[in-house]
Amino acid sequence: AKPAPTPAPAEPAAPAEPAAPAAATEADCAKPEVICIGLVTDVGEVDDKSFNQASWEGVVAGGKEVDAIVNYVETKDAKDYVANMQLFLDKGYDILVTVGFALGDATVEAAKANPDVKFIGVDQFQGEVVPNLAGLIFDEAKSGFLAGVLAGKLTKTKVVAAVLGTDLVPPVVNFNRGYVAGAKWVDPEINVISTYHPGGMDVAFTDPDWGATTARQAIGQKADVVFGAGGKTGNGALIEAASNEGLYCIGVDTDQWETVPEAHKCLVSSATKAISPSIVDLIKMAKDGSFPGGNYIGSSALAPFHDFEAIITQEIKDALDEGLKAYDANAITLPEK
């Protein structure tokens, strides 16, 4: 049911393609000429249509570029982060990607203990520079802001909604702060109604029914753009919006046109952070020796408009450009939460 942990084409969740480069196997990872890249997920599955999956896709694509053997371990219990990294380290892997802020401490420690191995920590802000550890972080508020501007431009009712995962982790909060700021930047009169999932970490991202019902509740009070930002919970909100006529919805993290086809009817764009491409870049840098320690800021932007290209008028595009300029010029103040 999972993408095979061997080199695979960069399509999402495609089945295994056993052709390993140069007939090298995992047993050869300890050899210097064989590059092996391992990925440790945060609690959850590698095909979660969210950051675990995006990271894995980056690893697969990057592995292809540098001719590497790739493999993953899914974390089932948050207490296994270290143990799961150790699985790769014992085998002599060269590059380790760990996904999620929660793995931050464990990754720093492992990086310090294994200076020869390159570590990429997705969503992990680095307080100090460890040369062989790149913390891949994003300015979520930026793409959130653009999503807000887009929503503000599209809304006719002056009510836009956000259905969010938990506020226990910063990325989700930052997306929302940007979103609120963006909509208000277009028109301060716009009412942004946003909700975080009330459950804990273990359910906040995996509750599509809550997401759908909450989106519906927002739509019922005239919201006509729904920003779904919270893993599968957010996806539920997108799909709910898609089942109504004349509504727009905005996805998150990756271009959700690819991951949530059920939402095509409303999905104008997604507030993305470029996890996969950044990982590919970092992998390439690791290979050619230019690996950057410390924080590495990946790009965050709006995804393509796909079928909605026609609706996005030049005026809206101009507004997006202008907003981006204002944002980059630090002219935008973000709300607290």
């Binding site: 799961n84 929660a102 802000f125």
Partner: protein, 366 residues
């Protein structure tokens, strides 16, 4: 209630008699798992070898297995103790969280204590928090009649919210490097150490299991708890304070779960972090049932579950088997271990006389 078998012949034989059915059950569950693995195209032998290696293969693996076993024992004991009083404690999860966060708070907030004292203090705090969290449904059950199944489920959700709030609010780690909701690391003086590869927390858990067994089997308090669980009217007739007993059963249950949470924080995680204790309370129910509401049974079943949890990632890594299969095997184990009848039929073992176990029948006592 333990059943007496007067004949004290060969104790080896006796041990074999008691464990052969569970052993065969585990075997059957593994067989079913093997079939599923085969069907899905994986090599069951390789998978199981990896599972075993991941659970016991080296000191590190063993250590992790024991770490995973420890909270299960506590949660299992918690559920068991309430069962004995005829109460179904679905609230172990919440009690565990309350214990974990309290111990985590005491672990970082108090500075400069000598190690043993700090550990004891943090443990006591965690136990008290868990006990308090058991007291609420206990009092509600005894004095307002609110059913403990509802109140403990609700209290679980409240505990999640409350600990999330604390971890993201007043008690959040505000150091520059931290961005997420969690408490600061506990002081070194509050860390529960290891005894070789064996976590001291595990040793404590075994000790507590023994104490609970002794309490239930040998003390008046245990007798009263059992009596209330079986017939509260007769217990009242016999002069027992049934409401107080039901309340204290949930308090003890809460204390045990809180203890488990504290040991987890102080011995394994090192801080309180939302999501790190997910599902332990429900595993406690599984463990209690699998261990047939007997404290020693709870130890064994926790070890079994702990080993499966411990070995799962190696199995996934080495044998390329999705770890969901572990859930399937686990449920089959639960099924076969309790389905004596099936096993006995399958392997043609005649029923031992006696040895009937009392588990809870329904939503606690009527």
């Amino acid at each position: 209630m333990e059943q007496k078998t007067p004949s004290k012949n060969n104790w080896l034989m006796t041990i074999w008699r008691t464990i052969r059915v569970p052993l065969l059950a585990i075997l059957s569950a593994l067989l079913v798992g093997a079939v599923i693995l085969l069907v899905s195209g994986a090599d069951p032998l390789k998978a199981y070898a990896a599972l075993f290696k991941g659970a016991f293969g080296n000191a590190n693996y063993l250590k992790r297995t024991l770490e995973k076993t420890t909270p299960l024992i506590f949660a299992g004991l918690s559920v068991t103790f309430a069962f004995k009083a005829g109460l179904f404690n679905i609230g172990a999860q919440g009690q565990l969280l309350m214990g974990a966060i309290t111990a985590g708070f005491l672990g970082f907030a108090i500075k400069g204590l000598p190690p043993v004292l700090h550990i004891v203090l943090a443990l006591l705090g965690g136990c008290a928090a868990g006990a308090f969290y058991g007291l609420i449904p206990g009092l509600l059950r005894s004095y307002s009649g609110a059913h403990e199944v509802i109140t403990t489920i609700m209290l679980n959700y409240i505990a999640i919210n409350l600990t999330d709030y604390l971890a993201d609010g007043p008690w959040k780690d505000r150091s520059g490097t931290n961005v997420i909701a969690r408490l600061p690391l506990i002081e070194d003086s509050a860390r529960i150490p290891f005894f070789g590869p064996v976590p001291v927390g595990f040793i404590i858990a075994i000790l507590i299991a023994f104490i609970i067994w002794y309490m239930l089997e040998r003390t008046n308090f245990g007798f009263e708890i059992n009596s209330v669980g079986l017939n509260s009217h007769a217990s009242r007739y016999a002069g027992m304070k049934t409401k107080l007993l039901m309340t204290s059963a949930l308090v003890v249950a809460g204390l045990l779960a809180g203890f488990g949470g504290s040991v987890e924080t102080l011995g394994v995680v090192g801080r309180f972090q939302p999501g790190f204790n997910a599902g332990l309370g429900f595993d406690g129910i599984t463990v209690a049932l699998l261990g047939r509401s007997n404290p020693f049974g709870v130890i064994l079943s926790s070890l079994l579950l702990g080993a499966m949890k411990g070995g799962a990632n190696v199995m996934q890594f080495d044998a390329k088997v999705p770890h969901e299969i572990i859930d399937v095997i686990q449920s089959m184990m639960l099924f076969f271990v309790t389905a004596d009848l099936v096993i006995r039929k399958l392997f043609r073992i005649i029923k031992d006389t006696g040895g009937e176990v009392t588990l809870t029948a329904g939503w606690g006592q009527k």
